[in-house]
């Protein structure tokens, strides 16, 4: 099979233009691009790529369908394993998952599996009506949280014939897909579309329901639910615990991104929630969340957006593509620097941040080299906004209300990996609330396994 050694490029918005809008950065393959890229796949007998996908998408077969121009069939093939291909095609860390395992990657560039997945999902988006499933009578399941884990459990169980109700704390479903990942990386229309499809399966979504406050898990059982799935994510922001962190102009990445994505502050004052962005913005951290915050700040008019990270380039946890996009857009990286305090004026607004230079020492528990501060190397960075993006833990509201669910010392739920089963009878959990902040596809994988286990659990109980 003739195949190019380099993968087919995906058209993107020009960085100079895109920093003035919230439209999607990556524009997606055309039909021709997709056909060309699909041709590169070797149709391996034992496809290694599949092993890299947490939900085991039939990559070889869907790509073969793409090559034949059967795009809708290809989408159907993916959907056997993955309910949210339009989302995963965009935000999966493919370079560490499916594409990392692709055999072509040994000598040349791996097949652009994510781009192909995105293409077929978008192509088939409006082509296929989800079959309306009449809500089944196999049992009633409550799902807490409407992020990727919750949506996956709900869809799978509805298809199996259960009556499923999702309870979501926010006024919009989708979890991080809605409030965290920005529009320019994942258009909210796509998330809404996926949610609508799940609703068409007969799943009911009750918004504005904070479980643990309006009602507890025991009450859900009392109301007749046979099982409960907890997919509440890792939404509790961590702060640095340094001086000046409560000054005006210091945000958690969660607050900053929620104001912009969920509350549409970028359309203020048409939408009534404001967001303050100064001229110079420092973002502390170097994960996907930090990249999203830094790039969002530029789009809101910041003249400079600076990533401050205590380790080096190698250690940055964000996806390669996100780091590259951030750099193209003009985000500045001050690596090997750690904030020591935030400085403010008399009115309590941020005017600067004191940082200290760092060196890398021996590897720590995480396997990454431990940063050590260089004595006497403090310096001042003049900024008027600081966004803290150093990680999140599970929100304790539900867990405080349900002390009989066992948790770890990190506040995550202890659940069996293969089933999601927790220490509390009939309660299953999966996604970030179990693993700590991870990825969309891992949350979906956990959701899939839990749906299977919940089905078995309820069927056993009925018999």
């Amino acid at each position: 099979m003739p195949s190019a050694t380099i993968r087919t490029k995906m058209p993107e918005q020009d960085p100079k233009e895109r920093i003035h809008n919230f439209n999607e950065v990556a524009l997606g393959y055309s039909k021709e691009d997709a056909l060309k890229e699909a041709e590169r796949c070797l149709r391996c007998k034992k496809p290694a790529c599949v092993k890299g996908c947490p939900v085991g998408v039939d990559i070889r077969d869907f790509i073969a369908l793409v090559a034949e121009g059967k795009f809708v069939e290809a989408a159907r093939k993916i959907k056997e394993k993955n309910n949210l291909p339009a989302v995963c095609g965009r935000v999966c860390p493919q370079e560490e998952q499916c594409e990392a395992k692709c055999i072509l990657g040994i000598k040349q560039e791996p097949v652009a599996i994510g781009r192909l997945e995105r293409f077929v999902a978008d192509y088939a988006r409006n082509m296929e009506e989800t079959k309306r499933v009449v809500t089944g009578d196999k049992g009633k399941v409550a799902v807490v949280g409407s992020g990727p884990a919750g949506l996956t459990v709900a869809a799978d169980l509805a298809k199996k014939g259960y009556q499923v109700t999702i309870f979501e704390a926010f006024h919009k479903p989708g979890g991080v897909l809605t409030y965290g990942i920005p529009e320019f990386r994942l258009p909210k229309e796509i998330v809404q579309d996926e949610v609508d499809k799940i609703k068409r399966l007969g799943v009911e979504i009750k918004l504005n329901h904070v479980i643990g406050k309006i009602k507890g898990i025991d009450q859900l059982f009392a109301e007749g639910y046979d099982a409960v799935f907890v997919g509440t994510g890792a939404g509790l922001p961590r702060f640095l615990g340094i001086e000046g962190e409560n000054l005006n102009g210091v945000y958690s990445a969660n607050e900053f991104l929620t104001r912009v994505n969920l509350m549409k502050a970028y359309k203020f004052p048409e939408f009534k929630t404001p967001v303050y962005v100064g001229k110079k913005v420092a973002v502390v951290g170097a994960g996907n969340v930090a990249m999203d915050a830094a790039r969002t700040a530029l789009r809101l008019g910041a003249e400079e957006s600076i990533i401050v990270y205590r380790r080096g380039r190698e250690e940055m946890p964000a996806r390669e593509e996100e780091i590259e996009h951030a750099r193209e857009e003009g985000v500045v990286f001050k690596l090997l620097n750690n904030p020591v305090r935030i400085i403010g004026n008399d009115e309590g607004f941020v005017t600067g941040m004191e940082c200290i230079k760092m060196e890398l020492g021996e590897p720590d528990d995480s396997g990454r080299r431990r940063p050590i501060s260089v004595e006497g190397s403090e310096w001042r960075l003049d900024v008027d906004t600081v966004i803290i993006a150093i990680g999140q833990s599970p929100n304790p509201i539900l867990l405080n209300d349900t002390p009989d669910i066992e948790t770890s010392k990190w506040g995550t739920i202890v659940a069996e990996d293969q089933t999601g089963r927790t220490s509390k009878e009939g309660v299953f959990a999966g996604g970030d609330v179990v693993t700590g902040a991870a990825t969309v596809i891992e949350a979906m994988g956990a959701g899939k396994r839990a749906a299977q286990a919940i089905d078995e659990y309820i069927q056993k109980k009925v018999m």
């Binding site: 958690s252 607050e255 203020f268 929630t273 404001p274 309590g348």
Partner: protein
């Protein structure tokens, strides 16, 4: 959708709504609040549950029009609905075991104070109330408080009703006279709560305040409502909104409340039209 069953104007710019919300009413306790959104473009606005009726399945909120969003709420009528209403949020407060409590309300603070005073009274506490306002016509819930209080004092800044002066003037006299007060609850503007807390401190009387910090989600996921209490950072929406007034860093809270002052003006001026903010995105 959460339907408004009854609307009453209590004072200029202050409106009381009874809303059908059976599940929230069923779980509501003193100290809880809700967050409402009027329409698709609206802000999430925190409001205290000023009263609730579990049997009837209703909650009462009292709203003061101070800016765009609160005015938008006050313009709703009986029969209209809130698009979103989430709650009960916050930590409920314990109202048991108190013998003698002074309740201090500044202006609209009477609304969030009421369910706490009511519950304290039901649990056997003797209630002394001080209601303060800028001017007489802004006093609210006078009858309700008078019904559950042994003594009721009124102060107004301009002297148009009751004693001319601040709530702290009346409170100082009471603290001087009476040494067996076991709790002061003060709810009102941040400055008022600050001065009340400073006043009670030398008397060693436990003082509870309820903070109206800026909030987004109200569930502990944004940290926008952070407040320093006893040197530690707390989230007002989940650790509060009620805190020990002697431990709260009020000056920090006063500064944080001013964070969005500039934008409030803009929201008001621009109404629904796109403003300066949008234009620069389209450049």
């Amino acid at each position: 959708m959460y339907k408004i069953l009854k609307k009453e104007v209590l004072a200029p710019e202050i409106t009381r709504f009874k809303v059908a919300a059976p599940e929230i009413a069923a779980s509501a306790e003193p100290g809880h609040f809700i967050i409402v959104r009027v329409d698709e473009k609206a802000e999430r606005i925190p409001l205290t549950i000023a009263d609730y009726d579990k049997k009837e399945g209703t909650i009462t909120i009292i709203v003061q029009a101070v800016g765009f969003s609160s005015r938008q709420i006050c313009n709703l009528e009986t029969g209209d609905s809130f698009l979103d209403l989430v709650g009960p949020l916050g930590k409920h407060i314990s109202t048991e075991g108190y013998k003698k409590v002074i309740c201090v309300a500044g202006g609209l603070g009477a609304a969030p104070l009421y369910p706490k005073a009511k519950s304290l009274a039901e649990n056997g506490a003797e209630i002394i109330t001080i209601l303060g306002a800028r001017t007489g016509e802004l006093l609210i819930l006078e009858e309700e408080f008078s019904a559950l209080s042994k003594e009721l004092y009124i102060t107004t800044d301009d002297g148009s009703r009751g004693r001319k002066g601040f709530v702290t003037d009346a409170l100082r006299d009471l603290l001087e006279e009476d040494s067996d007060i076991d709790l002061v609850i003060a709810i009102g503007p941040m400055v008022m709560m600050k001065f009340v807390s400073e006043l009670t401190k030398p008397y060693g009387v436990k003082t509870m305040v309820s903070l109206n910090s800026l909030m987004v989600d109200g569930t502990g996921m944004c940290g926008g409502c952070r407040v320093t209490v006893g040197g530690e950072t707390k989230f007002a929406c989940v650790d509060g909104p009620a805190f020990d007034g002697h431990l709260v860093d009020f000056d920090e809270q006063l500064r944080r409340q001013r964070f969005y002052a500039r934008y409030e003006e803009e929201a008001k001026v621009h109404g629904h039209a796109g403003g300066e903010y949008q234009c620069h995105l389209q450049q």
